[in-house]
Amino acid sequence: MTLPSESLPPPGWGARGIDGLLGAFPPGQLSEIVGPWSSGGSSLLLALIARVTTSGGKAAVVDGTDAFDPFSAAAAGVDLSGVLWVKCGGRLDPACRAADLLVRCPGFVLVAMDLGELPLRRRQSLPSSLWLRLRRAVEGSPTILVLRAPQRLAGSAAALVVSARRLEARWMGASQPTRFAGLSSELRLLRARIFPHPNLLPPLEGEGTRNPLSPLGRGQGEGCWTIEWRS
């Protein structure tokens, strides 16, 4: 029996693929998704929000630059009724304070902080103590705190860092492009301070399944995924 193609998950999605990565964002820790625009970083964040909201959880989006698009989110499978959207209008200080309030507020499975298009100079002016404070605030809670920015900001405060890199854009049309079809990107695990799930990292050749609690399970990860994002 052959399943219709639309019922199959897209290439790269599966228990040991991107799904494993989504399930690996650790509760009670600060995680980061970094990468330039058109690298699929925001799409990865929306996939994570979709995963949380369709399971009945609540997610908060602290939107530094009001860039969140509910239409894209709905198309990505996000249950919008489970999303609290906090628009900060390009103001960095309220965004940071809002994230701090929300990670301390019970009831949210995910708090996503998107610093977006804020100028690099303003983003880098954030004190490192802010990220340590956020990490301390979320520690011990069941909340997943995810920061989305083009560059790494949280430094060692981040338990998990996923880097997104654009590979190529895909266009439809024979001689001249008529429609933007999507883009492919490469997601790479830059840092996994706390080993989140045994399926996240494939065992090295000749090595058995790692014990997530063993020292071997900690440290820099080797995980890499190629994702086709469809427009």
């Binding site: 690298s39 979709a50 909201t53 959880g57 959207w85 906090v86 298009e117 854009a169 439809m172 994002w229």
Partner: protein, 428 residues
Amino acid sequence: MSQALLEVALAHSPRVEEAGPGLVYLDAAGLEGLFGGERQLGEGLCAAAAARGLNVRVGIAGSRLGARVAARSGGGVTIVQPAEDAAYLAPAPLALLDLPEEMAARLDRWGIRTLGELAALPPAALFERLGSEGPRLQRLARGEDLRPLIPWAPAPPFEESAECEWGLDTLEPVTMLLADLAEKICARLVRRGLSADGFEWICRLAGRSLHEGSLALAAPMSEASAIAALLRVALESRPPQGVVEAVTLKAHPQRVAPAQDSLTGRSRPSPRLVTAALTRLTALVGARQLGIPALLDSHRPDAVRLDPFHHPHPNPLPGRERESGSLSPSEGEGRGEGGGKNPAALVLRRLRPPCPAHVTLTSGRPVHLRSAALAGRIVTGAGPWRASGEWWTGGPWARDEWDVELADGTVCRLIHDGSAWFLDGIYD
């Protein structure tokens, strides 16, 4: 309308039950001495309702179902004679019992279409096939009430006022006065096992003008100290512009569900913490800047509104992974990630408002982009995709959309509204 109907019923009988929109039951037992008979009672109800602008129909029977059918089938006052409920209900359709879909389909397969046919079935055989639900439905179909009336009583007003002997020209005494009023209201709420999901205050100012404000709580609560703190935050964000002479505080009472639905279920987070956090968030970014995004029924781009956020409920599907707040990787298998429409959907990051751009065209196609957010040579592009709408209103809109890829690989959306170019968003 339901409130007015309930008040009319309560004026005729001390035992009244609210049964949904436009439907009220009242106990007519023992009212003959007051009204002279059932018909007079029914006519009195019709007249009292008409005086309040309500057109009602009254059914009087030995059971709730009988009274409901009588009220709906007849005009004015319809009376089912005592002990004739079963006969009266017999030709009524089975749908009146509000059966679950599966049960309705099962009875339909048996050829049972009316209440009389259900009432005529042997109870023992019905129990064998449908369990305890079978005899219960049969008793309803025979016009027997299975439970007593649940009395309704009007909610007392939760409102407190205070007059100031001299005007208050600073915020501190006003907030203290509000805290005092909140404490009195909360004490009354607690006595009745209620909470409040919102407060309204009205400050009468020296020039006889009014300063009004409201505080919507994300979760109902009845803790006076927490409510006083939240009122202070709300008042500080929008203080009265003048000397305050009198203050009135009103609460919106609500009955609160238990913190834990079952012994093994996950308990709800503390309403006090949730409400405090959301109120502080509102004071931080503004009430219009946060909420649940809801898509509007419009083709206008970015047609979204923000609805008030409600108290987070516990996860309906208990499980170890979910209770800890994380999801296991295997949960996405078989249904796609997130169970969504398109798990690998590419997201557009919007620029609000769209960023003005200077676009160079060659043969009608954009070849170079310059804007505050992005700039560069355009290597590929698709468009224009024309969209327009609401030309029949005072705010028509039209635009051409282009998806373009810059030389550095960034893919963005450009729009041209007929007069100028804008950068609408960046795909990411």
